[in-house]
Amino acid sequence: MFAVEAKELRKVYGKEKTVAVDAVSFSVKEGELFGLIGPDGAGKTSIFRMLTTLLLPDGGAASVAGLDIVKDYKEIRKRLGYMPGKFSLYADLTVEENLNFFATVFGTTIEENYHLIKDIYVQLAPFKNRRAGKLSGGMKQKLALCCALIHKPEVLFLDEPTTGVDPVSRKEFWEMLKRLKAQGISILVSTPYMDEAALCDKIALIQGGKILSIDTPNAIVEDFPNKLFALKGDSMYLLLQAANTSNFVEHAYAFGEYAHVILKDNISSEDLLLDYLSQEGFGALEMKQIVPSIEDCFIRLLR
């Protein structure tokens, strides 16, 4: 059985019939950490809201924990945990009251499933009497995760849990996810950060309501059809422009301290580009072949 299975899922909004989700199909195995990777407006939240039974699809079908998202919505709600992108706890209840509330609504107690949230909750414990609305962003995020976990869900839905979070806190959050996965919880997580894709078992790259590619991060990288080079030299901005207007380059784009370069099919060697660039007056040139990242794959698929 799949933890989540979506078949040709579709969502259309408004009079203008804007297609937010366009025939999206994917499946998440039990115990898998599956990532929906894409920018804002890609349709990630609409997919989450349909799968968590908060929004009816306009086409296609989906199941969560083997249950139909339309027919079995009441049963599904007991079995899934959902952390929306927007903070949705009760701002006027304290940390402890929020957690208690969610436990009670699901017919359980904090004690019963404390083992699931222990790692996270110990960091919140000093503030347990503070009202949720008065918590910092990072703390709100941890409380929301605890509330989504307190009824021991089979499948956890996390919609952009790390958006706007600094790199250090993002790393910590992913450590938490790994520990939850080790406890057998299936997780569907969405993120606009491409570097987080590598931390998932399987990913779907999504843009404009459509899935561009779906596989393990390694397989997506291995599918990259071109040789990819990292190029560096003096005055990177001008170097990038020169590379892109030369006859040898299919596409060059900034990537941290390097420019990433895909050569045209008929170009036999990177030396041709290097010679050209040094003739154009660029110094300190350095070029090496590299393994693409998920971000490189995404950029290629967008073009």
């Binding site: 804002d40 407006g41 990072g138 706007g164 790199p167 250090v168 941290g256 971000e295 995404f298």
Partner: protein, 246 residues
């Protein structure tokens, strides 16, 4: 030496017992792209609000575009541009209405607004969308328009607060092309970001930890100083020691 358009000297902001920004000192030259990094809660927003004339410092001094952050906050506001991911444009106004609105706020004449809007619409290729509501534009276009509007009045400095959050990788790069083009025209760029690859695109970077600037330099200098492969590692080394978490 190039003109220094931002000078901060021991700039501090105290809220009760809490030193949100603790004696930060730095300067930024005209046309420089200055990356202002730090973990959530490190004090970046407070510092930025002081530099934009929105919050009066508790101690220290600073000038922005030649104006004092204590006494000349109105002049500062007229001479800077500001854009953030959270707030940038009015979604219920059309593209043209937004341009007109911000042009008016910045005191441009009707004629200037007309000329600027025409040029901007053409430059961004938004001819067909000019009369559409901003809410109907894809996020990437909105961010580009938003940046263009922030520099509509030719400010000396533009403050960008996480301008590329949530944007797809291709649009993110197009956005940086616009930043480079503005910097080449002499506009000073003061930018915050959580993308460490973007830190590499800055001329210089400062990294704030617990209210203080713990490191400052070019990306190459910082990587050397911290013996790190990339900016991600530099950031991690500095910020993991932070006591303050947002």
């Amino acid at each position: 030496m190039k003109e220094q358009v931002i000078i901060a000297d021991k700039l501090s902001k105290r809220f009760g017992q809490f030193m949100a920004t603790n004696q930060i000192s730095f300067s930024v030259s005209a046309g420089e792209i200055f990356g202002f990094l730090g973990a959530n809660g490190a004090g970046k927003t407070t510092a930025m609000r002081m530099l934009c004339g929105l919050s009066i410092p508790s101690e220290g001094s600073a000038s922005v575009a030649g104006f004092d952050v204590y006494t000349q906050t109105e002049e500062i506001k007229k001479n800077i541009g500001y854009m953030s991911q959270r707030f940038s444009l009015y979604e219920d106004l059309t593209v043209l209405e937004n341009i007109r609105f911000f042009g008016g706020i910045y005191g441009l004449s009707d004629l200037q607004i007309k000329e600027k809007s025409d040029a901007l619409i053409q430059q961004l290729g938004l001819e067909k969308e000019a009369k559409k509501l901003v809410s109907a534009l894809p996020l990437g276009w909105r961010q580009k328009l938003s940046f263009s509007v922030a520099i509509l009045h030719d400010p000396k400095i533009v403050f960008l607060d996480e301008p590329t959050g949530g944007v797809d990788p291709l649009t993110r790069r197009q956005f940086w092309d616009m930043i480079y083009a503005a910097a080449n025209r002499g506009v000073t760029i003061f930018v915050t970001t959580h993308y460490m690859d973007e830190a590499e695109y800055c001329d210089r970077i400062s990294i704030m930890v617990d209210g203080k600037i713990d490191a400052m330099g070019t990306p190459a200098e910082l990587k050397k100083q911290f013996d790190a492969q990339n900016m991600d590692e530099v950031f991690y080394q500095l910020a993991r020691g932070a006591k303050r978490k947002e």
